[in-house]
Structures are given as C-alpha cells and as structure tokens.
C-alpha cells in the first residue's frame, strides 16, 4: 500500500489566495496555450461588484464566501533527478504534496458575457 503525505508548514499557516471562477473554457487566440498570456482586466464598481473584461467580453460577477474552503496542493513528484545514476532509481523518493495556500472566497462570473462592439459600421 502507498502512503502519500500532504504536509503543511507549521507556523502561521498557509497564505490565502483568491479563486476566480468562470463558466466554460478559455482558449488562447492562436491556440498557443495560455501560459504567459494576458487574461483580462479586473475592475470593481464603487459598490464592490467585480467586472472582468476578457477579450471582447464584459463579465459581471460577485464575491462569494466558499461554504467549503479549498486547499491548493502542490505535487512533488517522486521521480529520480536526471543527474542521478540509473542504479539508484530503485530508491525513488515517494510522491508527496504540500499545501501551498488556502482559498476561502471566490469571485464567480456567471452572467452571460456581454460582447463589446468595437466597430459600429457607419450607416450608408
């Protein structure tokens, strides 16, 4: 049987991150993957309503306290390092996880995106 440990740092506890929840999928324009790309601008109205401008859409959302908080776990793979001798690979370090953060609230954007019309054709 396998035992995989999820460790937390002792002390003040893990930091708190924010979760942003969007409906559906997100793909980059040229399908080159999302990493490194801009995503959008997040504004808050004077009343505190979050507004997200993504590509050609405006999304209105709300801040919600999570009924069940999340832990963000980071995986530490048990594979041997590249520079270790092949014979030592039988002594793999077991896979382990550590808690990177806790998430207790989220911004959820559920309303249908409002398209931003940038080019209004002139009346002929």
């Amino acid at each position: 049987m396998v035992q995989i440990v999820i460790s937390s740092k002792a002390g003040e506890g893990p930091p708190e991150w924010l979760l942003v929840e969007l409906q559906g999928e997100m793909v980059s324009r040229q399908n080159t993957g999302l990493a490194g790309n801009l995503m959008g601008d997040l504004h808050y109205t004077k009343e505190g309503v979050p507004v997200l401008i993504v590509g050609h859409h405006i999304l209105y959302g709300k801040q919600v306290k999570l009924e069940k908080p999340f832990a963000v776990l980071m995986k530490h793979s048990g594979l041997p390092q590249d520079d270790e001798v092949a014979m030592e690979s039988s002594q793999e370090k077991p896979t382990a996880y550590s808690v990177s953060a806790l998430i207790k609230k989220k911004l959820i954007f559920k309303t249908r995106p409002k398209p931003i019309i940038t080019n209004v054709p002139k009346k002929v």
Partner: protein
C-alpha cells in the same frame, strides 16, 4: 505589461465609466507555469481547514486496487475527483474590495498572475474506516505466552503500529481505538491478540488467585475488568462447541462455569450470541458481530438470510458499528429494511429478496 492608458482605452471601448469604478484595477495574466498541472484543489471541511492551519499533515493511503482515502490523525475520508464545467483560476496576488482598504485618489494598476487553474477538484467524504483487516492480521499469529527457554519467537506475522499504518486505510487513532476494542495488547513493541486458550488460562490464573486469597469478587477492583471477559470467555467456549444450546440449560451451565460470585446475564452476550425466543424450547447460538461481513449491504443480507424477521433489540448489536457519525440504528433500519408488526412487536425484514 499593460499600461494605465491601455486599460483606460479598453474601458472606453467597453463603455464603462471610470467614475463608477474603484481606483485599483488588477491586470490578470497567466504565469509561465500556469498550465503545468502541478497544482490540485482539495475541498475541506471546517475540521480539516483548522488542521491544516495548525500545520498538521494528512496522509493518503491505498493500494493500487483500492479507493484512496485521506487520513488525519483521528479521522478517515473517502477521496474522489469531482468535475465541474467551470474554470477555476487561482490568483495569489489578487485582492477583493474589502481588502483594498483606503481608496487611492488616482487609478492604480496591480499586475496579478494566475499561477494555475483547474476544472476538477478532490472531494472528501467522511467515512467509517475498514478495520476488519486488523483482527485478521493479528490472528495470523496469536500470542500463546512468553517463549520457553532460549528460543525466540519468529518476527514474521508480527506488526507494529507503523506496520498497520502501511496496510490499513485508517487513521492512527481509529486503529488504536479498534485495537482496544478487540482487546489486543502491545508485547515487546508488537501488537498481539491473545490466543483464545491462553487467554482462558490467564483468566483462570487470576480468578484462582482471587479465590485462594479469599478476596471477595465484589471487593476486588478487578471485578469490572474481570467479570465481563471471564463470563464472555466461558459463554463463548460453551457455545463454540454446539450449533444451538437449549437456553435454560445453557444459563445453568454458564453460571456454574464461572467463579462464585460472578454474574452471568444475557445482556452481556449482546453481539456475541443470539437468543431465539420463538423456538420451543428457547435456544441460544453463537453469533459474533466480528464474524459478519464488514460492508453494510452484505451485513444486512447475511443477517436477513439467517433470520427473516428481527426485532430492533435483537438486531441492534449487530448493526451498531455500521452507523455513521450521527446516525442511529433506527435510521439505518429505515434505510435498509422494511418494518411490520408481529405479535404486537415491531419487526424488520429485508427490502429485497434474500439468497438463502
């Protein structure tokens, strides 16, 4: 990186007015490693959240062919992956309005990175750990007494707590509680269960000692810990050798088999023996809860195939351990059985056809 001018231009195109918005704008972008999938989300309950905040660790346990479980030091949870149709982005550097405090006079940009995203998360459900395996392992080599002379006991089939944690999907405290329940003891660092005959011999020695010193059983503080195991051991020994015993004959022999002054009451046998009050003469037979299947449906099937209808009082000791944290045996019966009245008494039978 986006500039304030670019953000303002976007606002204009989107027909949003700057004066309706708070001064701080977060420009979100995906971090370089955002797609690497190194992060997972795990849903927590209040207990686990406080556990993690206190810096304590959790352990996932399971064989390749088992469902994984998550254990804290005293609880076990079933682990499943839940899918959502939404995209969940984690943004460490993003603040909410209540966190932004004083509104700066001039618009400000905060560049926040999305470190990862997911559309599924780990879901945890508190469950009753499967501990039957514990007794099975201990029975591989019951303790029959200290080794004679210079011979040493072979170390195979002997287990320490650490050995149990590697084989059983349960938390440390749940394992310890179960070990106590089945009367296992730690001998030389290994957990052992006493061989039945050896156990009987020990009880015999102790009661003989009490007898020979003429201590009254009602005075000896050992009474509480001695009476029950002694009576139970005797009852089990008697019942083991027969399929059924005439109830009144059994009660007589049983009383005579225990030291004078010790009580023998039928209620001591709950979970060990079953009385049949519908047969003439009334009978009693051995039925130990630990010999029954561990899984709930299989347990009810087994019970209903040996007896079609059960009164609540009779079935209770055989289903007590199936109850969840706040569940009663009544609730369990409502879920798995059908009730009816028989001779003025409420009885339960199976909801489905039972294989006999």
């Amino acid at each position: 990186m986006r500039t304030l001018d670019e953000v303002r231009a976007t606002l204009q195109i989107a027909k949003l007015k700057e004066e309706d918005l708070q001064a701080v704008t977060h420009c979100l972008s995906f971090g370089e490693n955002a797609s690497s999938g190194d992060y997972s989300l795990m849903e927590l309950d209040d207990t686990l959240c406080r556990h993690i905040e206190a810096g304590k660790s959790l352990t996932i346990r399971g064989d390749k062919d088992e469902h994984a479980v998550l254990c804290s030091e005293d609880k076990t949870y079933d682990l499943k992956i839940a899918d959502t149709s939404n995209l969940l982005l984690f943004v460490p550097g993003c603040r909410t309005p209540d966190q932004l405090g004083d509104h700066p006079k001039h618009p400000q940009l905060v560049h926040a990175q999305i470190w990862g995203y997911a559309s599924s998360y780990w879901e945890l459900k508190r469950q009753r750990p499967k501990l039957k395996k514990l007794k099975k392992l201990l029975m591989e080599s019951p303790y029959t007494g200290p080794p004679v002379g210079t011979e040493e006991e072979a170390p195979e089939n002997k287990f320490t707590m650490e050995d149990f944690l590697e084989r059983i999907q349960a938390s440390r405290e749940e394992i310890e509680a179960h070990l106590q329940k089945i009367h296992a003891c730690e001998i030389d660092g290994y957990w052992r269960i006493l061989d039945f005959d050896y156990d009987l011999k020990l009880l015999g020695h102790v009661t003989q000692l009490v007898d020979s010193e003429s201590w009254s059983f009602s005075r000896v503080p050992l009474r509480t810990c001695l009476e029950d195991p002694c009576s139970l051991a005797m009852a089990q020994m008697l019942l083991q050798n027969a399929v059924k015993f005439n109830l009144s004959e059994f009660q007589e022999v049983w009383q005579q088999s225990v030291p004078e002054g010790m009580g023998t009451r039928l209620d001591q046998l709950r979970g060990l023996a079953l009385v049949d009050r519908n047969s003439r003469p009334e009978t009693i037979s051995l039925l130990r809860v630990e010999d029954l299947p561990e899984e709930t449906l299989a347990r009810f099937n087994a019970l209903f195939s040996m007896r079609e209808k059960w009164a609540h009082d009779d079935i209770e000791p055989y289903i007590q351990d199936l109850c969840g944290e706040k569940q009663t045996t009544g609730a369990l019966l409502t879920k798995h059985a059908r009730s009816s009245m028989q001779n003025g008494v409420k009885v339960y039978n199976s909801r489905r056809p039972v294989a006999t």
